[in-house]
């Protein structure tokens, strides 16, 4: 079976709100797939439908080759899920909840105690504290450890690092990278683009309940421009140069964005003046994302 998640033209509405409006999403087995979009785009709704918590109104969704609504229990034994807003039973300790979630995944699901202890140490969690005493970040850690310590073949993370500090975020990234090497499939919803950039093999960008873009990061970057920052020997004029955008010149400092075909002409113009320092980098997903949405928003018919 090639694809862990296969979603076609998925639709779901809550009352008058159309949460999903024909979403397509394909997650191949063994890849880390980032599911990106602003708040309210439909990321959580999609994941809840994939978990069989919500019933789809139309379209098709398959998860690990099964129907997420009908085969929920059978499929859930093979996946682990970390919700975006983790709530835990206030009277249970973190350690108890980690064990409980593993046992709930079924008798055949085993949790390796050594692996669990290593993760608890890695994330610096105190497992003897009652959940009501945990901060948001610590609640998140409990759910992450429960998922990462499991032997599930598919991991679903809904904005997993909201609430984690940078150190813990780095620990999470390392863990996800090692999961990829172990051949597990990961679906990672996020609006933190750096996270997706650091982790994912492929990206789907969702907006207003529809997939706006999908592909590898390299494929998406084809659509975009290179950012050039330079410190020059003297003043420069870029007038009349095609394919150069967002030009900012402050004295001898230059910042601009360039379409890949125009790069050569630009560099020629710069070396003619004299280059002291030059930074050329592919666009961050952030820039890609911003452009994508601002373009759509200013485009025709985007009155909303």
């Amino acid at each position: 079976m090639a694809n862990a998640i296969e979603v076609r033209a998925l639709r779901k509405s809550f009352g008058r709100t159309q949460a999903l409006d024909g979403l397509d999403l394909t997650v191949r087995t063994g890849e880390v797939h980032a599911f990106l979009g602003p708040n309210g785009a439909g990321k959580t709704t999609t994941i809840r439908i994939l978990l069989g918590l919500l019933r789809k109104d139309g379209g098709e969704a398959s998860l690990l080759g099964g129907d997420p609504w009908r085969d929920a229990v059978r499929l859930h034994a093979r996946l682990a899920y970390v919700p975006g807003d983790v709530t835990l039973w206030p009277g249970l300790t973190g350690g108890e909840i980690i064990d409980l979630l593993a046992r709930l995944r079924g008798p055949q699901s085993v949790i390796d105690p050594k692996r669990k202890d290593a993760l608890i140490e890695r994330f610096a969690l105190d497992p003897t504290k009652k959940a009501r005493a945990y901060s948001k970040g610590n609640r998140q850690k409990v759910a992450l450890i429960a998922a990462l310590a499991s032997d599930a073949e598919l991991l679903l993370f809904d904005e997993p690092t909201a609430g984690l500090d940078p150190l813990m975020e780095a620990a999470f990234r390392e863990c996800v990278n090692s999961e990829r090497h172990d051949g597990r499939t990961v679906l990672l919803s996020s609006h933190i683009l750096a996270e997706a950039e650091a982790l994912s093999d492929r990206v789907t960008i969702i907006r207003d309940g529809r997939a706006a873009e999908t592909g590898t990061l390299a494929e998406l970057r084809h659509l975009t421009r290179t950012t050039v920052e330079a410190e020059l020997a003297g003043p420069v004029s870029l007038d009349g140069l095609p394919g150069v955008h967002a030009v900012e010149i402050r004295g001898t400092r230059l910042h601009c964005e360039v379409d890949p075909p125009a790069l050569n002409d630009l560099l020629a113009r710069l070396t003619a003046v004299g280059v002291r320092d030059l930074v050329c980098r592919p666009p961050t997903l952030e820039e890609l994302f911003l452009r994508h949405y601002s373009a759509e928003r200013t485009g025709p018919g985007a009155s909303a």
């Binding site: 809840r48 918590l53 019933r55 919700p83 300790t93 108890e96 409980l100 046992r103 709930l104 009652k130």
Partner: protein
Amino acid sequence: MTVQARPAARTGPARTGRAGPGLAGTGALSRLAFRRDRIMLPAWVYLITVLVTTTAYALKKLYPTAAARAQLVVAGGGNPALRFLYGRLNGSSIGALTVWRYGVWAAIFGALMTIFIVVRHTRGDEEAGRLELVGSAAVGRQAPLTAALLTAVTANVAIAALLCATLPATGLPVSGSVAFALAIGASGLAFTGIAAVAAQLASGARGARGICFGVLGAAFMLRAIGDSAGAGGPSWLTWTSPLGWVELTQPFDGPRWWVLALPCAVLAGGVGAAYALSARRDLGAGLLPDRPGPPSASGLLRGPLSLAFRLQRGVLAGWAAGVAFIFAASGAAAKGIGSLLGGSAALRQEFTRLGGQAAITNAYLAALMLLAGLGAAGYATSAILRLRTEETSGLAEPLLATAVGRIRWGLSHLAVAVVGAAVLLAMAGLAAGLGYGLRIGSPGPQAARMIGAAMAQLPASLVIAGVALALVGLLPGACVAAAWTVLGLVVFVDLFGVVLKLSHWLLDISPFTHVPKLPGGTVSATPLLWLCLAALAFSAVGLAGLRRRDIG
């Protein structure tokens, strides 16, 4: 307003003005507290006022003559079990009987209301992280505590004021009514002080409520032992309990106004201590820390069923303790119930009707078992509604994302409801049987007989639980209100249906109408079987609904 406030805010302390830096923002927080409690608070005030006032009115109807009351005073005032439950009886007027019957209990309800209000607006908000947001605004350290205290004091003053107005209207003397009203209100003030301290000591809302309930239980026991002690016993214990001060005010027997100073002193001391503690501690910290728990789950916690029991065991234990306590005392009061009721033909008739038979002791015990059945239905309803609470608080989501199906999840809480209701009924039967049996010298046989009588209520209680489950499955948005409304209607029909001459059709709606009146009545299995079938059918509808609908 913002235009005025802005320049002042920049200069810092000037903004706090005359309220002092610790109290800035109290007004806004109090209004927020009243806004959030706009339904719960009037409901409590109304309930307590109506309870006391209707008791005064009913006693006047039930015991119109001095002779009828004299007999009640001898039988009731002399019965240690009733003194344990209700307190001592000072005098034989309608007013004295009202104080006896509902003085302590109105104070208990007032204390519960006060505890919920104070803890909710202090520790509860702090634990939920809301006070952090509030504290970051231009709000003084003591403002949230002050707002909570103002809310609780207002509620208790409202109860006292309403009783001052309604009690004289039932024909009770004015000065006694005022003393009684103030005694109930002041008792709530004492618990305001106690709850304020508890909210500072504990490190969570649950712990704070635990401390308060502990104090309330101790206050009840001290008072109960003091009241039921004979001439040579430790009757002074009543003086140590805020609940005892209500009866010790002797509202209708030459009021002792100075006793009202005692609860006010507790309020002052408690509030002072709470302010001192709150000024010293960090946000979120308590003086009594949370104990650490086990780092890994024991073998007992392994599935949705054991999780459901784990989540609900504390509440069930609380119910069981309360039921054991009240039914033991009520059972013990069964001996001599005939002479107690002898004075009131109306009351005797009432028990005969509720208990469904003429032999007065059995009728009384059977009426007790009806109450136990209604209580078990109440518990089962709350246990079923836990499903909805888990769902709305986001706890169902991680559970259902594992290999646990919705049916299994629903069944786990249904199991808690069924087992819990059975345990509570067995406890009620056992306690009432022992209470009565020990006094007449045959505890064993009475306990066995009463457990059987209590268990006959189980199918009817489970019908109510089934209805609650059906509502959770079919009407998730409205299920909490709807389930409690159903229970309220059933209680109403069972307790007042016949008196109000409701049609038979309406009476038959309540499952408890069909339960054999035990002990003493004839047992027939047919209605019990039908009730079991109805409970099963409702539960099946609920589970089917749960399987079909969206979760969360």
